[in-house]
Amino acid sequence: MLDPKQVEHVAMLARLALSAAEKQAMTESLAQILAHFEELEGLDTSDVEPTAQVIPLPNVLREDVVEPSLSTEDVLANAPRQEAGHLAVPAVLPERQGD
């Protein structure tokens, strides 16, 4: 039910670079685990509400007022790359050929 193409697709969705050996191992171990997931199919849950979290808390809101927070310096202290007080990343859009 799970082929290497699907593994590649999921790895792309998860933004995970996997080596060829990792893809192979992942295909095998995920297939083994997913086979166990099928045991839930036999359980009738048609009238059962899903539980996302166990404590019946309503949304918790606070007044919309500015409170002390971390400084830009503190926030950027762990940044692999920064520029002029901002996080920096390489090109988001690929350079077009021939421009």
Partner: protein, 486 residues
Amino acid sequence: MATWDTTGHAAAAALRSGEITSVELTSAVLERVASVEADMGAYLTLMGEEALRQAAAADRRLAEGNAPPLCGIPIALKDVLSTAGVRTTCASRILEDFVPPHDATVVTKLQGAGAVVIGKTNMDEFAMGSSNENSAFYPVHNPWRLDRVPGGSSGGSAAAVAADECLVALGSDTGGSIRQPASFCGIVGLKPTYGRVSRYGLVAFASSLDQIGPLAKDVEDAALMLQAIAGHDPKDSTSINATPPDFSEGLDAGVKGMRFGVPAEYFVEGMEPGVERVVRAAIERLAGLGAEIVEVSLPHTSYALTTYYIIAPAEASANLARYNGVKYGYADLDARDVDELMMNSRGTGFGDEVKRRIMLGTYALSSGYYDAYYKKAQQVRTLIKRDFDAAFADVDVLVTPTSPTVAFELGSKTQDPLAMYLSDVMTIPANMAGLPGIAIPGGFSDGMPVGVQLMAPAMEEARLLRAAFALERELDVMADAPAKVV
């Protein structure tokens, strides 16, 4: 008895009577760490100098009087808890050099209480694992036998407590990560009710399941530690707004007349006979104390493991999206574009098990599979929770084994993820239902500790601790325990 071989509450009494100072106690624990750590691997970061400064400050506070119970007590923190200015790695390469700008709320509370932090403990990477072998740095060894795992994912905290490398420690429990290693290492491990302890500053794994709790040498210490960390926190929107009771009060009230449920589904094939023998004997001793023992059924128990391995990876795949080489953590600085930066930073930074769970979770949430996996698992989660609601309509506390086996050999399950996952089959249900659970030593099988697990309804930690205290005193397991090797 060596100075470091003591409990938190005994040390607290000695600190108050002037028998010892926190600097002396902390120095003794640091010496103990120095002498056994090469065998143990329990710590990732040691904070010796800072610990001695904290100890000196604690001594001044103790001299003034009215210091909180944990003042001057050497503790350890699982390296999943953020510590301002001290690296917090989650035992992952991707966070190897990460130094948080903030403290977790539990860390702030413990420092406010005067506790002395010895260091940050080893763990399975991002708390994913049951043997501590998924640490990106080095494995932890079990102090009862060095060729055995300490359990996981809070294996470093459990081993550090068991090997007297601290007096008490904090861990986190998403599917058993406090209780299972406590069981493997012969100590007490408590997972509080979901929402009882703030998760602010706990590096998130599965947010609807994660909970911070103590690993301790006895139930009294677990109660003291829970007291220090429990309570509402506006910084965690799932934190319950209720004032915690006094968890030490009534600890010794006994279990006479208390109703203990024994769920048949927890005594199943695959459990080691030695584990069953110890747990059944403990149940008989409870009956001897005047407790009522009742057979109960939690019919959906066998589905909990599968449900967990859909929900926890799904939540993890979302939570771990933040490690992308942009804000903090390992980054592939040679990447040519932003996609390559994210793919390569994550591909290199995460270990095998973390990648496997991100893949599982991404798959379960992906278009076309969401209803079949994620929604279905959430519905089964409802059924699991209803099982507990029905059982607790009839009994006060549930009593079960903590794990189907004693601590296994290092390397014996690393190639078989499913066999590894089974190690948490008895602890996962409490996380699915948000209930408090505690593991306490029940005895030994082949020279290795066996943990008895107790579970109570949500918010009933006081009841749980009272039951655990009575059983601990009745069994007196450590009185004729085999010797540890460290």
